[in-house]
């Protein structure tokens, strides 16, 4: 039996899809949300590392639904689970850590700011920071963000402070402040998508510490599953269909999007027709769905007449170091050592944009300080290592005892990732997932400037950690990429020949198709992307409501 047509069908319920559904439903439009994963309830979020972090509770099994991955166009592809975010209602917002930074005005004007960068395909955004700023306010209020905006050289213009006061901090934050200030820098409190107190019917954070990589059973984390989705459902205008995997977007004779074909929870093929189709499956998976939606009108994939769908993929540049403090060696010198408070919540953005290229780069990013994740299996596997470095037996047990005597403070880099022609998503017809669909094939080539930049930021972070006089300081890496933070595959722009989406995130080639995950981003900025994706979805949702009300599709 065919499903009744609706005004809008949204594919994906994460940071992009959920705000769209909410905005449209509030304006009275009927919405169906198709979500590939399950609709977890608070009781499903259990503190069981094996269930939660080491199996397919969030991420699909790589032999069922691989992402092919290679670094360099001359390398073979490997089957991985890279670049998946959580498959469940709320998507990646469910298991995120919730580091909620805004992008800065410079991120919207990167091509103009940097000029031509050889080997990079930089582009300015078709909107400015001031166009998005009001929707950052909306997103921070709808999701619930705790923080305190303090003056620093790269503080973005804001009309007001965060809706909730900052979370309680671990006293080491003060030591980081002193160290960073001593180096001439400007430490700032990290805003979090976590409630510091009860808010809109949701409980405040319980400081359980098992936060990032877990779902929050109190609803204190700003997942769309806890914040936006319940309000969308409460309008009565939204039908949420979990465990429904979109397989194709169909088009009519005029080339407009007509429906979404999907597999329901029983594996039965279904079709949902709508006036408007909104995709929000992550930058990798939305591109894959479009590339797999081949028709006579769009033989290279939906809205892909110019061949740009899947191109210009960006992640976030990653680097990390960790400092180990032995509890037994801390007497009389580390007043903060005994506190078990989970949140450090300190960041540095002094190197967000360098005044000149004397260090080999100009656009940098953010350093975020945190305690190492407390999962014990994760920690022990890391300590056991493998190959010639591997240890077992008494040596391994002694390492586990040392761990017990340690507090491990680390920082992560969220750095610019320069888009380039050799970093992209394609589909591979030879490799299919358990639904029989060609899987996403991801090719990554890192721009050398990214690596110079990441190393520089890591060295600055290490200066801060060293000032705390740790018992050990270990560099984890300077050349990584955080693949859960992804964008670029349907970049937005004014020129239909050089972009997939227009400034409203509507496809140039398909006037009733929108993409509202990170795909629209021409550049990844120097911060995690989640808040920006949510803010942009509220912006696009408001524009779509205006269009639908004025009949201007």
């Amino acid at each position: 039996m065919p499903n009744d047509p609706v005004d809008v069908v949204v594919v994906g319920s994460g940071a992009g899809g959920a705000p769209m559904a909410l905005e449209l439903a509030r304006a009275g439009f009927s919405v169906v949300v198709l979500e590939k994963g399950a609709h977890y309830q608070p009781k499903d979020f259990l503190h069981d590392e094996i269930l939660n972090s080491r199996r397919n509770f969030f991420m699909p099994l790589p032999w069922d639904e691989p992402h092919l991955w290679r670094k360099g166009t001359d390398q073979p592809f490997a089957r991985t689970n890279e670049a998946w975010t959580a498959n469940c209602v709320g998507g990646g917002t469910v298991h995120m850590s919730g580091y909620f930074y805004r992008m800065k005005p410079v991120d919207f004007r990167l091509r103009t700011t940097l000029g031509e960068v050889k080997g990079a395909s930089l582009a300015d955004w078709p909107i400015e920071y001031k166009d998005l700023a009001p929707f950052y306010d909306v997103a921070e209020a709808e999701l619930g963000v705790s923080g305190n905006a303090v003056p620093h050289p790269f503080l973005e213009p804001r009309s007001r402070n965060f809706p909730l006061p900052p979370l309680d901090e671990h006293p080491v934050a003060k030591a980081i402040d002193d160290a960073a200030k001593g180096l001439g820098w400007h430490p700032l409190p990290t805003a979090r998508g976590i409630l510091s107190q009860p808010y809109q019917g949701r409980a405040g954070c319980s400081y359980c510490t098992l936060c990032g990589s877990y779902g929050c059973e109190h609803g204190a984390k700003a997942s769309t599953n806890a914040s936006v989705i319940p309000r969308a459902l409460a309008t009565g205008k939204v039908t949420l269909r979990p465990r429904c995997m979109a397989t194709e977007v169909t088009v009519d004779a005029k080339g407009n999007a007509k429906s979404v074909i999907y597999k329901d929870p029983d594996g039965v093929t279904q079709e949902q027709s709508a006036r408007v189709v909104v995709l929000s499956c992550t930058a990798v998976e939305s591109a894959r769905l479009m590339l797999n939606s081949v028709s006579a009108r769009f033989p290279k994939g939906l809205a892909n007449g110019n061949g740009l769908v899947g191109k210009n993929l960006v992640f976030s540049s990653f680097g990390q170091s960790k400092a180990t403090f032995r509890v037994s060696k801390s007497a009389g010198k580390r007043a903060w050592i005994d506190s078990q408070a989970p949140f450090v919540n300190r960041s540095l953005q002094d190197f967000y944009l360098m005044p000149d290229a004397r260090f080999g780069f100009r656009k940098g990013g953010t350093l975020g300080f945190m305690w190492q994740h407390p999962n014990p299996i994760f920690a022990a596997v890391g300590l056991a290592k493998k190959g010639k470095d591997g240890v077992f037996g008494k040596a391994l047990k002694d390492k586990l005892r040392e761990y017990k005597d340690s507090r491990i403070l680390e920082f992560e880099i969220y750095g610019e990732f320069l888009p380039n022609p050799d970093t992209l998503v394609t589909v591979d017809a030879k490799v299919k997932d358990r639904y029989g669909l060609p899987v996403a094939a991801i090719t990554v080539k890192r721009h050398p400037v990214d690596l110079t930049m990441t190393k520089f930021l890591v060295e600055r972070g290490e200066e801060v950690l060293a000032a705390l006089e740790p018992d050990a300081l270990e560099r984890v890496g300077v050349a990584g990429e955080t693949t859960i933070l992804q964008g670029g595959t349907c970049r937005f722009g004014k020129d239909p020949a050089a972009s997939v989406l227009d400034a409203e995130c509507r496809a140039h080639e398909v006037k009733n198709l929108y993409v509202v995950d990170g795909s629209f981003l021409p550049s990844s900025g120097g911060v995690p992307l989640t808040l920006t994706i949510a803010a942009n979805a509220f912006r696009v949702g408001a524009a779509l409501v205006r269009r639908l009300k004025s009949g201007g599709l």
């Binding site: 972090s53 080491r54 397919n56 991420m59 069922d64 089957r79 098992l210 022990a380 008494k394 586990l400």
Partner: protein, 213 residues
Amino acid sequence: MSAPEDDVDQERRVLVQRLTFLGGGVVLLGGCKKDEPAQAPAPKRPAPPTTSHLTFTDEEYRVLEAACERVLPQDEAPGAKALGVPGYVDRILQTPELSRMKDDFPPGLMALDRRALRLFGHGFPDCTAAQQDEVLTAFKDSPEASGEARWYEMLVVLTLEGALGDPSYGGNKDRAGWALMGFTLVGTAAAEPPPDYDGRKALHVRCGDGKGC
């Protein structure tokens, strides 16, 4: 389900990836699974194999117990056996997510046993601790892509999961694994799963019986 494998390299990469998925260890013995019996003395094992376990024969289980105990030996704190790790491995390999590992892991135990027999004249469980460590080290230090090296990683990862996972899976007896690491969050700052919680059942229900989330 998964696409057909068209070459050995592809298969190998899948297996390597499975290792990443579990956060550390893996699988498959490549050549030695088939090659070694021809070179090693005929194994002196009772036929047919008997078992009182879910995944392993009794003989394999003895090797498993001995190998896990060398990864985490008893000292002033409990070792793998006292923590219930072998039982964890036996049961967790019955979960659908690890169905292919269930086929790959037991032959590795017998390869370990044959290596011990060849080097020291005794099966692995009957070697001295120092001899056992020597055999395990040889597997550990094998080339990265070799079956031995990947099997070693899988042994270590499964042992650590058993020792440090939620006690409902059958390991981490009396939370002694967590005590060793100083992990005290579950049951204090973080709520523990309900009293009747069974991690393997939760995997079954919440992870869709291996069919993905």
